[in-house]
């Protein structure tokens, strides 16, 4: 059998080869059976919105072709795009709603095991939201904050509270463009209404409504999720851990948590440290319990609990195919239904826990806050029972695991830069203004079988670091770079340009900062606001020498994130492009037309090296517009190789 070339990660290649030897099909094999991809769908020219259709527009026709209702290629692709954005917003925001409910339940005493872990943050939030804190118990304060933020989803008046975190100029831009989001649910619902048959057909109007919806994600749903998760589970602090499939241990009970919400995984992390659970595992012949994460659940328990990371999105099935996972516990988002089929080839017990996300034929252990810790214990015990059923002949754990430091936030990261006692963004802004740092770029997003796994993330980040760009990361992109060893302070020496090295050495941070899960992209927005507030590099986000990159995008959430980044003034490089390429008008509007309203636009390019080049040129253009000092150090050619 020839070696697979599906990944840039050696552990993934080896695990995938093992899976193929066992004749277990994973996402890559299933994807191959889907080829060639339907061009109408891929280009956004297939419309299934009404039941006169499905209609599709021939992309090569020079005629003004229209679907049955008269929708042209612009309307069809803009509606498809808008629906993707609303689904992405809905996913992040429904996650956030869950966190709100957990906080409320905690306040009401209905969620034993949960507590307010960061009361300082809770207090700050209350003050920011205009809630009087005097004479309020912590529980009452939690309830008030919880109610206030729960109202953000369904309130009938006003606009979202966290928008005020943005610079004034930014808020005025949104007002002018008519995209200031109101309630979160309302924006999602309105987009679904607008894209219903026979409602909005003007592609510009559709995309602006999508932008308003996306802003309700970034400055609403995602931001609420981040803030309240910090309140409940504690704000992250820099923490060392390990990453890649090699964190699984042949002699331990291996439990993998996968999905997005920390509400369950936090409890599992707690239970896994309990002596009686450990003893139970040992009674089954195991040396201990390894609780490792996949995807954003991994990021959540990594940055708060220092738990190891087994891998990113495309490694979820490969964790199972190591044959060493006794239980995989999943909740919502990015959980491939294909896991069920893969798990059948092994002893692995797959458990769904969210009532929103069930897989036919898979054991469902409903997770409820009131019994959270007990549920977590039960899951771990059953995993230990399952450990005995493991077939050693089928076990093949790739040896690779890498050290990393994670747990950076908008609040703590630049405290590092300023030193512990004078926390401030000044040093960051000064570094940029002096030309030591070219700028800050968020490299985020998923994996996709349409791109060699991890390759784009790594290629782009390497190039950016070399050019003295500080990289901040979330999600699967962060895990990709962690596996490649870029998330350690020592990595600066290997990967960073001279200016970036100086900063990293002075502060003791890695050149790539792990800022959390995909809802935590909101942390990057806040960091950008802080940079503006600190002064000297622009009055709104669009003037900052910053950019966003999602070069292995897969989900509708990624599209929503991309759009809220653009609508917040951050030019976004995205690949594969959302399904709009069949309409030159929509393509042009996204890649150029949005600049007028937001001072930022999308860039669609599939070549990671061109993306990196484009990002650098973009940062240089922003620097030039701000008349900043030229870069201090030339790019070392020796690093090009």
């Amino acid at each position: 059998m020839t070696k697979t070339n599906k990944s840039a990660d050696p552990a993934t290649i080896s695990a995938h080869d093992h899976a193929r030897q066992l004749d277990v099909a994973t996402a890559w094999e299933r994807h191959e059976t889907m080829l060639p991809l339907c061009a109408f769908g891929d280009l956004g020219l297939c419309c299934t919105i009404c039941y006169m259709g499905p209609c599709r527009i021939d992309p090569f026709s020079k005629e003004d072709l229209r679907g049955a209702c008269g929708a042209d290629r612009n309307t069809i692709s803009a509606r498809n795009f808008t629906r993707a954005v609303s689904a992405g917003t809905a996913a992040h925001s429904d996650h956030a709603r869950g966190v709100c409910h957990t906080l409320l339940d905690t306040a009401k005493g209905k969620a034993p095991g949960y507590q307010v872990s960061d009361p300082v943050k809770l207090g700050k939030l209350a003050t920011e939201l205009g809630i009087k804190t005097e004479n309020l118990s912590q529980v009452d304060l939690a309830a008030k904050v919880g109610h206030f933020l729960t109202d953000e989803f369904g309130k009938q008046d006003g606009t979202l509270a966290f928008l005020k975190r943005a610079p004034k100029v930014q808020q005025e831009r949104w007002e002018r463009a008519g995209v200031t989001p109101r309630a979160i649910d309302r924006e999602v619902v309105e987009c679904l209404h607008r894209t219903h048959e026979g409602v909005d057909s003007d592609y510009r109007s559709l995309i602006l409504s999508a932008a308003r919806c996306a802003l309700a994600d970034g400055w609403g749903g995602s931001m609420i999720a981040t803030e309240l998760q910090d309140v409940l589970f504690g704000s992250p602090r820099p923490v060392r851990s390990k990453v890649n499939l090699g964190v699984l241990k042949a002699d331990c009970v291996n439990v993998v948590v996968h999905g997005h919400e920390p509400v369950l995984s936090e409890m599992l992390a707690r239970a896994a440290r309990e002596v009686e659970i450990l003893d139970y595992a040992k009674s089954k012949g195991a040396a201990g319990i390894i609780l490792a994460g996949i995807c954003c659940t991994a990021n959540e328990i990594l940055m708060r609990q220092g738990m190891p990371v087994a891998g990113n999105f495309l490694q979820q099935e490969l964790a199972v195919t190591t044959g060493a996972v006794d239980s995989m516990v999943v909740d919502v988002q990015c959980v491939m239904p294909g896991l069920a089929g893969v798990a059948k080839h092994f002893h692995t017990k797959l458990i769904t826990t969210s009532n929103k996300a069930r897989i036919a034929g898979v054991d469902h252990v409903p997770f409820e806050e009131r019994h959270a810790l007990e549920t977590a214990r039960r899951i771990l015990r059953s995993a230990a029972d399952n450990f005995c059923r493991r077939d050693p002949a089928r076990v093949d754990i790739p040896p690779q695991s890498m050290d990393l430091v994670a747990g950076f936030t908008a609040e703590n990261t630049f405290h590092h830069l300023g030193g512990t006692y004078r926390g401030s963004y000044r040093p960051l802004n000064d570094g940029i203004m002096a030309g030591r740092l070219r700028g800050v770029v968020g490299v985020v997003g998923c994996n996709t079988v349409r791109v060699q796994h991890d390759y784009n993330h790594l290629a782009i980040v390497k190039e950016l670091l070399k050019h003295d760009v500080l990289v901040v990361e979330t999600g699967c992109a962060a895990i990709a770079c962690a596996k490649a060893g870029m998330l350690t302070p020592e990595a600066a020496l290997e990967f960073a340009g001279k200016g970036l090295q100086e900063i990293c050495a002075a502060v003791g941070i890695p050149p790539v900062l792990h800022m959390g899960s995909c809802v935590d992209n909101s942390r990057i927005l806040i960091a950008c606001c802080e940079m503006v507030r600190e002064g000297g590099i622009g009055d709104d986000l669009s003037q900052l020498p910053v950019a966003a990159v999602a070069a292995e995008a897969m989900s509708e959430k990624a599209v929503a994130i991309g759009l809220y980044a653009v609508a917040s003034g951050i030019t976004t490089f995205f690949n594969p492009a959302p399904r709009v390429l069949g309409s030159p008008e929509v393509f042009n509007y996204l890649t150029a037309g949005l600049e007028k309203d937001f001072g930022a636009h999308w860039v669609f390019d599939s070549d990671p090296h061109k993306i990196a080049q484009g990002v650098i040129e973009h940062l240089d253009a922003k620097r030039a517009a701000l008349k900043l000092h030229p870069m201090l150090y030339p790019v070392e050619m020796s690093r090009t190789a």
């Binding site: 109408f40 992309p59 390429l581």
Partner: protein, 157 residues
């Protein structure tokens, strides 16, 4: 001639998705790549036409006829039939776009490419190692590239 190969369709398997049309256009574009082909001017043309009548879907392309009317009608000498392979091909270097072939093809499988002033039809993706692009693209395997015997064996229930 019995062994001559061409693209055959099974209407009973065709869902009418028109993926074959797009694949054909892309294969006959300058870049041979979907996203680049989108921006080519003039746009590439497909030579496969999925037609639908009364619920029956029929992918129609050149039948590479035993007695090719298009060849008989071609007044520029651009159309020829290879007596060994049975392939009927248009030599674009000679085609003047007189539309005689368009006027006589019983299947409507030769179409006028007004942008390039050339007649176009299925060329069986000559030169492509993987064979006709339409066959490769069909998600329901409703197309095969083969000879009459292979086709008949394939369509037996």
């Amino acid at each position: 001639m019995r062994n001559s190969r061409k693209v055959y369709a099974r209407p009973d398997l065709c869902t009418g998705c028109r993926s074959c049309e797009i694949a054909c256009a892309v294969e006959h574009s300058a870049s041979k790549e979907l996203l680049s082909a989108l921006f080519e001017s003039p746009p590439p043309r497909y030579r496969m036409d999925v037609q639908a009548v009364n619920g029956v879907k029929l992918p129609v392309n050149c039948r590479h006829c035993t007695e090719p009317d298009c060849l008989f009608a071609c007044k520029s000498g651009a159309i020829s039939k290879d007596l060994k392979t049975g392939e009927v091909q248009i030599n674009l270097a000679k085609c003047v776009g007189c539309w005689m072939c368009v006027m006589v093809c019983p299947f409507g499988a030769v179409s006028p490419d007004m942008d390039r002033a050339k007649a176009t039809k299925c060329d069986l993706c000559t030169g492509s190692a993987s064979g006709p692009a339409c066959v490769q693209s069909c998600p329901t395997k409703a197309l095969i590239y083969g000879n009459a015997d292979e086709f008949n064996a394939w369509r037996q229930p």
